[in-house]
Amino acid sequence: MALGQNREMSRPEIWDLHCHLAGVPGTTPEERLGKLLAFADRLGIARLCVSMGLELSQDPSPEKMRQENDEVLRAIRRFPARAFGLVYLNPRHTQASLDELNRCVRDGPMVGVKLWVAQRCNAPALDPLVERAAELKAFVYQHTWFNLTGNLPGESTPTDLADLASRHPQAALICGHTGGDWELAVRTIRPHRNVFADLAGSDPAAGFTEMAVRELGAERVLYGSDVPGRSFASQVAKVLGADIPDSARELILSGNLKRLLRSILKQKCLSL
C-alpha cells in the first residue's frame, strides 16, 4: 500500500520459525513456552516453532535426544494452537535419529527436523534422515555459519548445506541463520531452489532482508528469531524495517512457513 492511502492496513500474521526453551526462566517446558508466548504476544507474534530441550546439548546421545524431544512435546501439547515442534536429531546416531523422526513426526505432532552442530551436514550420514524427512513432508532446519573466528568441528557452513541440497532436491532445507555472514550465504544457496534462508539469530544488520529477497525471491525467505538468545524485537525488525514490498513481507512473516507446513499438517488432519 502506498503512502497516504487511507484504507485499513493489512496486518500480516507472524509465525516464528526458530525458538528454543533453553535459557528461558522456568522449571518446566510448559512454563518456559508460556513465558515465550507472553513476550511474543507483545509484538503480535502468533505462532512459534520450538526445538531442543531445557538444556542445549551439542552432541546428544540417543537418550538425551529423546529427553529433549520429550520436553518439546510437553511444551507444545500445552499450547497446541500456538506452537509447533521440530524434532532434534543427531546424525551421528543414525538409527536412533530415524526412530525419533518416526516417533515425533510420523506418530507425533512435530512438523520438522532440527539439526545443529553434531556433524557437518554434507556428511553421507545425513542422507537417510533427509530422505525420511522428505517422505514425511517435514522440512529440515540446519544451523549454519560462516564464522570468521572459526567454526566448531561439526558446525556446518552454507556450502555444506548446498552440497546436501544438491543430493536431495526433493527435500525442503532451511539454511539456519543464513550462515551469519549473509552476504556470502545468500549467494551460496542461491542456485538451490529447495533451500530457504532463515533470518534468525544474527545482528539486525540493515540490508540483510533486502538482499535475500532480491537474490532468492521473497518466497525463499523465512522469519525466525532464535529466542531466547535473541529478542523477538531485533529479529522481527529485519522484516518490519526492511525496504521490501508488503507482499514480500507477508510471505516472510508467515506465508512461506504456512506453505511449507501445509502438506504435513494436512496429513495430521490439522488446518493452518
Partner: protein, 321 residues
C-alpha cells in the same frame, strides 16, 4: 523476572487489549512504506525519543538503506525521535578527522533541522589530536565526541586515552565510547577488528572527575559484574542497540539502575526498528520508559548553550521545539 504483561500494561496506563493492538499496529506501521507512525502509538511510546547512537555517511563495506542523511532523518522522525546523537562512519578509517568532523557538523545543520546532534571523532594516537578536540568544542560546538579505540589501534590502558578523557571532562564534553560496530564473526576478512576491552574503564572513570561516559554497542561484550562496577564508577550510561535476549530490556533493568540506560539504535547499520521494538517487547513501567526514551539522555546533555549547534534549533534541553 519480567512482570506479567497485564499488570505492566496497566502500569503504563494502557489496557492490555489496547497495548497489543497498538503493538501490532506499530510493527505494521514501522514499514518503509511510511505511514503516520507516531500518531498511532499510545502516549507511553509516542514522541520525545532521544537516540544516542546513529551514524551518518557511508559504512565502508556496504551501502545501507538510509545511509543518506535526509532519509535517516525522515525515518527517525517518523518513529518519534526528536534528537539523535550522530557520529560519522568516516571516523572509523579516515585519517583526516578534521574534515570528517566538519562534514558531520555541516550535515547535521543542513539535514538535521534540529534533530541531529553531531559527535565528532577524535583519535588520541593521531598527531595534534587536541586541536581536533578544540575544534569540536569551539568551532562546531559539539556536545560530545565519539571514540573508536579498536579502529584507531589503541587499548584503554593507553596513557593518551586517559589524557583524552581528562581533556574531555575539562571541556564538559560527553564521551561516547564504541566497543564494536559489528559482529566479529561476520566481518570482512581484511577488516577484522576485535571489540574494545573495557576492563580498564572503571578505574579510569573513578580517576577522571566530571567525566560523562556513554558506552555504545557495549552489551554484547560487557555484562554482569564488570558492567555493574563500571556503571557504579561514575556518570556512565549504556544504550540498548546490542542488548539481546527475549524481554531483554526488562531483564537488564533487574540488573542495573534505569538511570544508566539510554535508547540507542545503531541506525542505519542496524534496522532502527530493532531497538524501538525492544521497548515494546519488554513490559516496562512508565517511569522506566521515560527514563530510557529521553530523561537519562537529557540529564547528560550539557546545560551550556555554547554546545548548541549553530542554526540547529537543538538547545541544551535535549528536545527540539
Amino acid at each position: 523476572m519480567p512482570q506479567p504483561v497485564k499488570s505492566e500494561a496497566s502500569a503504563t496506563g494502557i489496557s492490555r487489549r489496547a497495548f497489543l493492538g497498538t503493538a501490532v499496529a506499530a510493527t505494521a506501521l514501522a514499514l518503509p512504506a511510511e505511514r503516520a507512525f507516531a500518531a498511532t502509538l499510545p502516549a507511553a511510546m509516542r514522541g520525545g525519543l532521544i537516540d544516542v547512537n546513529v551514524s551518518l555517511s557511508r559504512w565502508p563495506l556496504r551501502r545501507l538503506p538510509g545511509d543518506n542523511s535526509p532519509a535517516l532523518v525522515a525515518k527517525l522522525r517518523r518513529h518519534g525521535v526528536t534528537q539523535a546523537w550522530a557520529g560519522s562512519f568516516d571516523g572509523l578509517l579516515h585519517k583526516d578527522l578534521g574534515a570528517v568532523n566538519a562534514r558531520l557538523a555541516r550535515e547535521c545543520r543542513q539535514h538535521g533541522r534540529g534533530l541531529l546532534l553531531p559527535f565528532g571523532c577524535v583519535n588520541p594516537k593521531a598527531p595534534d589530536w587536541e586541536e581536533e578536540l578544540r575544534r569540536c568544542v569551539e568551532v562546531h560546538r559539539m556536545a560530545g565526541v565519539r571514540l573508536h579505540p579498536n579502529y584507531h589501534g589503541y587499548k584503554l590502558d593507553d596513557p593518551d586515552f586517559a589524557r583524552l578523557l581528562r581533556r574531555a571532562a575539562d571541556r564538559h564534553l560527553i564521551v561516547q565510547l564504541t566497543l564494536e560496530m559489528e559482529d566479529e564473526r561476520a566481518m570482512h576478512p581484511l577488516l577484522r577488528v576485535e571489540p574494545v576491552n573495557p576492563a580498564p574503564l572503571a578505574d579510569l572513570v573513578e580517576g577522571t572527575p566530571g567525566i560523562r561516559l556513554v558506552l555504545l554497542n557495549a552489551l554484547r561484550t560487557l555484562r554482569g559484574e564488570p558492567l555493574r562496577k563500571l556503571l557504579a564508577a561514575g556518570q556512565v550510561c549504556v544504550e540498548i542497540a546490542m542488548l539481546e535476549g527475549v524481554g531483554g530490556v526488562a531483564r537488564f533493568l533487574e540488573q542495573v539502575h534505569m538511570r544508566s540506560v539510554l535508547f540507542g539504535s545503531h541506525a542505519p547499520f542496524f534496522y532502527f526498528e530493532s531497538a524501538f521494538l525492544k521497548l515494546q517487547e519488554s513490559p516496562l513501567s512508565q517511569p522506566q520508559l521515560n527514563a530510557i526514551r529521553r530523561e537519562n539522555a537529557q540529564r547528560l546533555t550539557p546545560a551550556d548553550p555554547k554546545h548548541s549547534q549553530p542554526g540547529s534549533g537543538a538547545g541544551s534541553s535535549g528536545m527540539e521545539p
